[in-house]
Amino acid sequence: MQTDPAGKHFDVVIIGSGASGGWAAKRLTEAGLHVAVLEAGRALTDADYKEHVQPYELPYRGRTKAPLERTQPRQSQSYAVREWNADWYVNDIEEPYLDDSDPGFLWVRPRVVGGRMNIWGRGCLRMSDIDFKAASHDGVGVDWPLTYAEIKPYYDLVEEYVGVSGMKEGLAQYPDGPFQPPMGLTCNEMAVRARVKKAFGYTVTQGRTANLTRPLNGRQPCHYCGPCEHGCITHSYFSSAFTTMKDALATGRCTLLTGAMAYKVLMDPDTHRAKGVLYIDRLTRQPKEVFGRAVALCAQTLESVRMLFNSATRQAPNGLANSSGLLGKYLMTHFSGAGASGELPDLTEQPSIAGANRPCGLLTPRFRNLPGGPKTDGFLRGYALSTYVGAGFNFSAAGIGEAYKKALLQPRPSTLTFSGFGECLPYADNACSVDPNTLDAFGIPVVRLRISPRDNERALHRDMATHAAEILDRLGATNIRQSHGMRGQAHEVGAARMGTDLKSSVLTPFLQTHDVSNLFVMDGSSFPSSAWQNPTLTIMALAVRSTDYMLEQLRTKNL
């Protein structure tokens, strides 16, 4: 039986057990260090996974979110929060946040070991020097303080352990990696790939996804059941809960504290070094402390920055690690919701739910404003198009009775849908902080955030819709419909950006705070720009790089 670890000393205290926290725990414990991982939620077991539970086995068949809205008015707005898994997420009433964004920003907050890795979209997209040096290219924002060559070994290491299924395409803006075999494209998808390449030169490829197609470290290949966000009994998609955290725990040197609401980094006022973490026991509400030679915040951008603000001291009254005054600023995400769809009359498909479901769609990587290519009027940077080809049942078929039932089962033209997600430029007043007057149920000041699109994002969104429609038109699609929605994705990054200059950045290139040498922030907080790619792969690669640096510093007693 595990004794209460409160009051104990560890080598490193890690906040969060998700993408970055899992990697930090794995690498540090496998190097012989003792760590404590504080997780605000509970641990899931295989009994929590419900990917094989059919709709008719649930009271409301997943067709209404009304029962969730009483305690989860915000969380329930996410597609990934469903009748199957709603108890994995935060209670919005107990743990609110204040949102000044326009449109409102949906902050998706699981409270389980592994965090958002349990329900993430699994897209694994490498960034390139086109992204890292974008500011030099177009003059907006700041470059990343690292190159693709520096991060490539970490991308390789992470991808090999994660198991990423994908197709090698040889694109400068979308570098390849050591992929597991792709799952493949249907005949109609292959036709779309060929037609888009011929008409525009763009590459339509299988979305690179953290789902196995070959066994790896005891995890089984994907069995194509479909709803990954409900869990995975064969551990075929990548979640830190049953990979990095499992490895860390297997060393015997990782203490996982669940139900631990991390509140503050504890500082030694004499040495100005972090000495541990104050957390609130979720069950008893008792304040408790754990201590370490170093502290790594890996709690998601908004949570980690919240903690730094809540850790203000007399010496750092505006928030810990905030001597630059930039903490919380340049918060970014990807905006999505714009695109177009149309029907391809010659690519018919028989709708069915009999067969395999690939756990990813297609992706058309960024094609706008690439170095050496034409500049697009009206906006900088670019976007990718999530691309879907398929035909669903025609539930709105005409008629009633047996004729209707027969009609809805008929083969139909495939619908080709492009749905964009684009880069968000860094703006100082897209920012997050804490509201000292609004406390969550644990007595901790909550996040106040603002992340709103500006002219560049709006122009980029218009192009997502109009150009997607142009592609569809050139491909001979009929019934083309444009979508001009705008919503922020659960890809929040920035707000504690890294750089070499302590006046213009919060973190060093190794994700160490400039102000407190033994305090690290390893989640997406460090991103100087959002790029167009899903952030998690880069978060993991940076976390490994940062952890290796921390290990070296601890070994040489520099920390």
Binding site: H52, E57, P182, A356, S396
Partner: protein
Amino acid sequence: MTRRSALQGLAAGLGLAIAAPADAHGIDHPLAAHVAQRPRPTRPVAASAAPTPQFFDAHQFATLALVSELIVPGSVASGSPAYIDHVLAIEHGEVRLRFVSALAAVDAAAREAHGTTFRAVPAAQQAALVEAVATLPTLKSWIAGAHYSSEPGMRELGFTGNVFFQSFPACEHAEGHE
């Protein structure tokens, strides 16, 4: 041995049995234990018509049953009216209002054409009334949604109960597509 490690052990054998037929309902399949132990419905919401509707009154519920069966034959047996009642009992006011109004339009059409309620219209003339009612898309959406999320309805769409597939049916045409 924990349940997780037991399942992992079973799953590890899967790679060796790659050529075996893929059916999660086979008792030797590693997913069989998971499927057997997964949560089951606490009450058979969709299995039969609720004797006492929670949301509708008796007239509405009887009318819904008639309309439901006309639009999607088999939907009463799949428990669709009861499911709709179950959902509307917890839905927002505007959602309830929209459905109640859509259903009432059927009675209104019957009153105009026959001077009586839809239930009292001869069965042979009910289908024509339903097909002509302006709220048919709303009724169809709810009734089809209920029926095709039931087990019998899902099976009509091709669902076999299998949750394990060894591969994705990717294109195998070496010549490609244009």
